[in-house]
């Protein structure tokens, strides 16, 4: 034997381990928001719970009504959550008997639709690139034509946003795509367009963040003008400034999102459990990157295995040495 087997195995294993664990492959860098990112600002203190946004969303995205659990009723679309047929919903928090809005023992409204994450788990985990993030607008889109229906995105999304139509013979994933099909016609997100109080506001994320800063700097109780529809709109709604909590949902969650929420009650009351700042997509891709970077470690490991397997196979009479055919003949009798 040329090289001592044990030493060789050790070297091979050591090399693979080193390439896997200690290689200079850093964690993947943090994703930045695209320059032209657009999104929504949802200010729960302005929402009156009229659900006009839900109605407009269904009309503009051709979604079927859901006659949910309101017993015996087929009169109106009454989804209780987002689903394969509902991609935007307004939910209410009720904390106590008080009829005062935006208080802990009163009630409050919140919205759930895709947050269009800067570093989206669904984009990272989709095996066929059906989930994509636009490099300019940052909109996270879904392609039914590419999708294989594995539902990894449904399972992985920290916001529980992508949904699946289990009731269909030919099922598909449904999620908000920020009405990107309307943008081609010069329009914008339908939910923001129809919102009567400007609670849902569409615009470039940079501008939305300035508007958030402006609202938070105002004195609670004073009146101010809130733009309706999209940022910079001359169509405004005049109302009182709420006492915002010091947390903008989506600013840091999961590495940041393009849909931002303002509220006067803590977000954990609004079905928004605390989330880490680090994107799980980054953790996952860094780990995979460490193992598979340039396929160096797997190829080195394979090389070692080939050499070792060849020797062992030979020793076992499996490598086709001269007398083996006879042995085979004998066996075959």
């Amino acid at each position: 034997m040329g090289m001592d087997r044990r030493n060789f195995l050790k070297a091979a294993a050591g090399g693979t381990l080193a390439a896997t664990c200690a290689a200079p492959v850093e964690a993947r860098e943090k994703r930045e928001m695209p320059q032209g990112a657009v999104g929504l600002l949802f200010d729960g203190t302005l929402c009156i719970g009229c659900r006009a946004c839900m109605s407009a969303c269904k009309a503009e995205n051709d979604l079927a009504p859901e006659f949910n659990e309101i017993e015996g009723s087929t009169y109106w679309d009454a989804p209780l959550d987002i689903s394969g047929h509902t991609i935007n919903i307004i939910k209410a928090y009720v904390g106590g008997d008080s009829d005062e809005k935006d208080t802990l023992d009163g009630y409050a409204f919140t919205k759930l639709s895709c947050f269009h994450c800067v570093d989206a788990s669904c984009v990272s985990c989709c095996p066929v690139g059906a989930m994509t993030k636009d490099s300019v607008s940052g909109i996270v889109s879904h392609s039914k034509d590419a999708c294989i229906g594995c539902r990894y995105c449904v399972a992985a999304c920290p916001f529980g946003v992508p949904r699946f139509t289990y009731d269909q013979t030919f099922p598909y994933i449904a999620k908000c795509q920020l009405c990107k099909h309307r943008m081609a016609e010069g329009k914008y997100a339908a939910c923001a367009e129809v919102c009567p109080t400007g609670a849902t506001l569409y615009g470039p994320v940079k501008e939305l963040k300035k508007e958030i800063a402006r609202r938070k700097a105002l004195t609670p109780g004073t009146e101010t003008e809130f733009p309706r529809g999209h940022i910079g709109s001359s169509d405004t709604f005049v109302g009182p400034v709420a006492k915002y909590i010091d947390h903008v949902w989506g600013e840091k969650e999961i590495g940041g999102t393009q849909v931002l929420h303002l509220s006067a009650v803590p977000f954990d009351k609004l079905d928004k459990k605390p989330l880490p700042d680090v994107a799980p997509a980054n953790v996952s891709e860094s780990l995979q990157g460490r193992i598979y970077h340039g396929m160096i470690a797997p190829i080195a490991f394979l090389g070692a295995l080939v050499l070792v397997a060849k020797r062992s196979a030979k020793a076992l009479g499996e490598a086709g040495e001269p007398d083996h055919t006879q042995a085979g003949d004998r066996k075959g009798e």
């Binding site: 999708c147 399972a155 289990y166 196979a313």
Partner: protein, 391 residues
């Protein structure tokens, strides 16, 4: 003589193919196929209880994640025989490989029917669609490649049956390459079955969510592989009325022991290092399941501790069953118990859903029985093998 190893050459078992057992397995397979048909016509929801809170049910977690791990016998034996050059275990390679071959093929088939848009499945292998950051991409490509490799590794057995010795000799010249792939590929995708959960982030409880998931899944699948080799041989020896070669199997038990120790060190070392062990003492379903999962590692470890214990077929069998169960519960915990999916969601598999999984298991066992009766897989027995198997 067949080289330096003095093992009996593999030979077909022979015997009847139609027995009450095979008929029963055939019926189970048909019931499973019926519900697969229903799923194809009326959609997944008509058969399965999965929902948006639990988008992955037993077809994913049992058939694929657990099924593939239970099929690691071929991987585990290849590692011992070809990498660590322990030739005396060579007679175990063929039956283990065959069981793995069917296990993996059916895991992949079952995954195909679990895909909502199965007609697009080829996108995973198509450069225009393939998304390399996805752990499922790695899994799909690597598992498919491994299934092909196992079929290639198994062809010499088929060639032997049909007397194609010239062709077999040509193939065997290159077999070492496929043997090497047959160790690399499962090492890659079995660890990926753990990595798949990393992107779930805080949706997986800290007792299970860790960057060493791939390592734990890898050690665990090998331990399960050795257990299944012992389990399948024990069952075969009873079912086909053949003696169990305790010399060899107590050796497998010893290998298993070392994997159990490695697993415990990695599992608890990680929990202590991350400071997450405290959660194991918070009352609730998660801590209970955590302790069941880990006590099931300690049981086989105790059963396998001394050479005397390992030579006892009952103890060895019990240890193998405990360890296989442990691997199943570990995976169920990772994918279900640990999954923090939000309030109001429930999942328990429906009867038709379970019948599909059972149907696949039945098909696998049925195929194994048929093949070992017709092809030279199991080592020939000294006293007239055909008479012993003709029961």
């Amino acid at each position: 003589m067949a080289g330096s190893d003095a093992h009996p050459a593999p030979a077909p078992l022979g015997g009847k193919l139609i027995t009450p057992w095979t008929v029963f397995l055939g019926l189970l397979s048909l019931i499973g196929l019926f519900f697969i048909g229903k799923r194809l016509i009326f959609g997944i929801g008509a058969v399965s209880n999965i929902n948006d809170g639990y988008p992955w049910g037993i077809w994913m977690v049992y058939d694929l994640v657990i099924g593939a791990a239970l099929s690691c016998g071929g991987f585990a034996m290849a590692l011992v025989v070809y990498v660590f050059n322990k030739g005396r275990y060579h007679p175990l390679v063929r039956p283990a490989l065959l069981a793995s071959l069917f296990g993996y093929t059916l895991a992949a088939t079952s995954l195909f029917f679990d895909l909502g848009r199965y007609w697009n499945f080829w996108h995973v292998f198509w450069p225009r669609y393939a998304q390399v950051n996805s752990v499922i991409f790695e899994l799909a490509v690597c598992m498919t490649a491994y299934i092909l490799v196992m079929w290639i590794e198994f062809t010499p057995t088929v060639m032997e049956k049909f007397g194609m010795y010239g062709l077999r000799k040509k193939l065997e010249k290159w077999l070492f390459f496929f043997i090497a792939l047959g160790v690399l590929l499962p090492a890659m995708h079995q660890s990926s079955l753990g990595s798949m959960l990393v992107i779930f982030g805080e949706q997986i409880h800290p007792l299970w969510q860790t960057p060493v998931l791939p390592l734990l899944f890898l050690i665990s699948c090998l331990a399960m592989g050795y257990s299944m080799v012992i389990f399948e041989a024990s069952v075969s020896s009873v079912g086909f009325r053949r003696p169990l070669e305790m010399d060899i199997f107590s050796g497998v038990g010893q290998v298993l022991k070392w994997f159990l120790i490695a697993y415990l060190v990695a599992r608890f070392g990680d929990l202590i290092w991350r400071g997450a062990l405290g959660y194991a003492f918070v009352p609730g379903i998660r801590s209970v399941m955590f302790w069941i999962e880990n006590i099931l590692v300690v049981i086989p470890l105790v059963l396998l501790w001394t050479p005397r214990l390992r030579r006892n077929p009952q103890k060895l069998f019990l240890a193998a069953v405990a360890m296989a169960l442990q691997g199943m519960i570990y995976r169920i915990n990772c994918y279900f118990t640990a999954y923090v999916t939000g309030d109001g969601w429930n999942y328990f598999p429906s009867l038709p859903e379970m019948m599909v999984s059972l149907g696949f298991i039945a098909m696998e066992i049925l195929a194994f029985i048929i093949v070992v009766r017709l092809l030279p897989v199991l080592p020939a027995q000294e006293p007239a093998p055909k008479a012993a198997a003709a029961s």
